[in-house]
């Protein structure tokens, strides 16, 4: 037998007040537990493959992650199977290359399927996402991957095509127009590029029946989610491998451009808006407004048009619930999942250790640390990667690319920095070599009585 309360103690008003405070505090803790849900291991997060329930158009679930020091949005995007466009749009105002550590960013892992037949491959250019449908009826499954598409000058062609053939470790036969573009920049390309790190097709390619257009891998993974190709569609190396294995020859491929998507799930209507490509916004918007008006008419309920306009104007690429169509709609999975930061981000460029006997390229000398870190990150994400780091000095920061094993590798890196980023890099000799030469020069100077030979200041500091 035990006592549940000591009544004489309660008679004391101080004890009573203390008890009340404790109860309120405990209540607060419980509330906090609801807000700060425990993080889910990243392995639990579905990235690519989702079942598609009959009559439903929305798959996946949003997530949020807390950034750590040194993270970049392209690294986070790749780890979670997102393109650079998607993570940038979902997190406006967050620096792509030097985001603030500790900041929570949204992972837009929920998608509205394009308005197209659920068969074969469908690529939505506006959202820069590929959807591969497998099975049918109740067993319909969709795998989705981010893609890089054609530039404004060389857009990806729209319409129906099919996979004509497939190739692992393809050779890139450089088209004359691309060779000419590179020649103008001072970059002479060979007639064909064999498989390997220099090959922009990556490890796998699906050749489309529309001649000259491919769905392929890449040696520039940071370009996924950008308009950076000559009309082809690029995927992350890990994604093209899955797509290649899953796609038989003659698979139909439909390329659409749908910046505004509507779809339903669990009785809730969602709207997903992306920034439209130039010239396609008005027409696409009219189409979606017509559909929404028709839904409004059928349901005999008024749509929140202000919200529709907000979603369209923000263009964050996230499905936003705009209308409850029926009763019993579950909104539980609308809440984003809190994801734990993984120990290592997949595909993050590795940074080799500094070596005194190696060659380097001084890429920039800047005053602000943020500028140096941004540039180093951009250089690190080139394809093939060029390792780069920030070195601090008394009055600013240096961005140094390397280490390189020999002078030719350093010169090649300097050449690429010039062609791709318009950076005039300075090749730096190995420290040991400089010291040896200084010794020789010292001997020579003594022999000839010449004391005017000063070593390069930059070389000294590296």
């Amino acid at each position: 037998m035990y006592r549940t309360a000591d009544l004489p103690l309660l008679a004391n008003w101080r004890c009573f007040a203390a008890l009340c405070t404790a109860l309120v505090a405990l209540n607060g803790c419980a509330a906090m537990r609801t807000v700060q849900e425990p993080g889910h291991p990243e392995s639990e997060i579905k990235r690519n493959t989702f079942p598609v329930a009959r009559g439903e158009d929305v798959v996946g679930r949003l997530a949020v992650i807390r950034l750590e020091e040194g993270d970049t949005l392209p690294d986070i995007a790749r780890h979670f199977g997102l393109g650079v466009n998607a993570i940038s749009a979902a997190n406006p105002g967050v620096d792509l290359w030097v985001p603030e550590a500790g900041k929570r960013v949204t992972l837009p892992l929920r998608y509205i399927l394009p308005d197209a037949p659920r068969k074969g491959i469908v690529i939505n250019q506006a959202t820069m996402r590929l959807f591969q449908f497998k099975g049918d009826g109740p067993s319909l499954v969709v795998s989705t991957y981010p893609v890089g598409v054609g530039t404004e000058e060389r857009p990806t062609p729209m319409g129906q095509t099919r996979v004509a053939r497939k190739a692992a470790r393809p050779t890139w036969h450089v088209p004359a127009s691309i060779a000419e573009d590179h020649r103008k920049k001072g970059d002479i390309l060979p007639a064909k590029v064999p498989p390997g790190p220099e090959n922009p097709l990556g490890e796998y390619a699906l050749y489309l029946s529309k001649t000259g257009y491919l769905i392929h891998g890449t040696n520039k993974p940071a370009s996924i989610g950008l308009r950076a190709t000559n009309g082809c569609m690029r995927l992350y190396p890990e994604n093209i491998e899955m797509l290649y294995r899953d796609t038989p020859v003659n698979t139909p491929v439909l390329i659409v451009n749908q910046p505004y998507l509507i779809g339903q799930r669990d009785g809730v209507l969602y709207l997903e808006a992306h920034t439209p490509f130039e010239g396609s916004g008005t027409g696409e918007l009219e189409k979606i407004y017509a559909k929404l008006r028709s839904i409004e008419k059928q349901s005999a309920h008024t749509l929140d048009w202000k919200k529709v306009q907000e979603v369209q104007a923000e263009a964050r690429g996230i499905p936003v619930p705009i209308f409850e169509m029926g009763q019993g709609g579950s909104q539980e999975d609308v809440k984003p999942l809190n994801v734990e930061h993984p120990d290592a981000l997949y595909g993050r460029p590795a940074l080799p250790e500094l070596k005194l006997e190696a060659w380097y390229v001084l890429a920039a000398d800047v005053r602000e640390e943020i500028d140096a870190r941004r540039l180093a990150a951009i250089i690190n994400h080139q394809g093939p990667p060029i390792p780069a780091r920030v070195l601090s000095k008394s009055s600013g920061y240096r961005v140094v690319a390397g280490p390189f094993n020999d002078v030719s590798a350093a010169r090649e890196a300097a050449r690429r920095l010039k062609i791709d980023l318009d950076i005039d890099g300075i090749v730096i000799e190995p420290v040991k070599q400089i010291e040896n030469r200084k010794e020789v020069m010292g001997v020579e100077a003594k022999s000839f009585g010449n004391h005017h030979n000063k070593p390069n200041k930059k070389e000294e500091l590296i």
């Binding site: 620096d95 792509l96 290359w97 890089g148 530039t151 691309i178 922009p200 520039k220 940071a222 370009s223 950008l226 308009r227 950076a228 190709t229 000559n230 943020i370 500028d371 941004r374 540039l375 951009i378 994400h381 080139q382 394809g383 791709d420 980023l421 318009d422």
Partner: protein, 100 residues
């Protein structure tokens, strides 16, 4: 009769004249009062001028602070604009470098 009237008039005039005249003590008292009031007025004037000067100084300071705050705000906005421009330029260069 005429003499009586004359005597009465003279006496009345004299009486009235004597009533209007003040003693030297009264005069000193008035003078002292005037001096006191003058001193008070002078003090009030000085106080008012000091207060105005203080108010002017405070206004000047407030204006200066406001200008400085405005300048600081402008400088911060300018720094932000430059930083944003730099980031945009870097992103544009990166996007260009990602082409095949």
């Amino acid at each position: 009769m005429k003499t009586r009237l004359l005597v009465i008039s003279v006496m009345l005039v004299l009486g009235a004249g004597l009533t209007g005249c003040a003693t030297s003590g009264d005069l000193e008292k008035v003078q002292a009062q005037q001096n006191l009031i003058n001193a008070k007025a002078e003090q009030a004037l000085q106080d008012a001028q000091a207060a105005k000067a203080a108010a002017d100084a405070a206004k000047l300071k407030a204006d200066e602070t406001s200008v400085r705050a405005e300048n600081a705000e402008k400088a911060a906005a300018e720094r932000e604009r430059i930083a944003e421009e730099k980031a945009q330029r870097a992103d544009a260069a990166f996007q260009k470098s990602m082409r095949k």
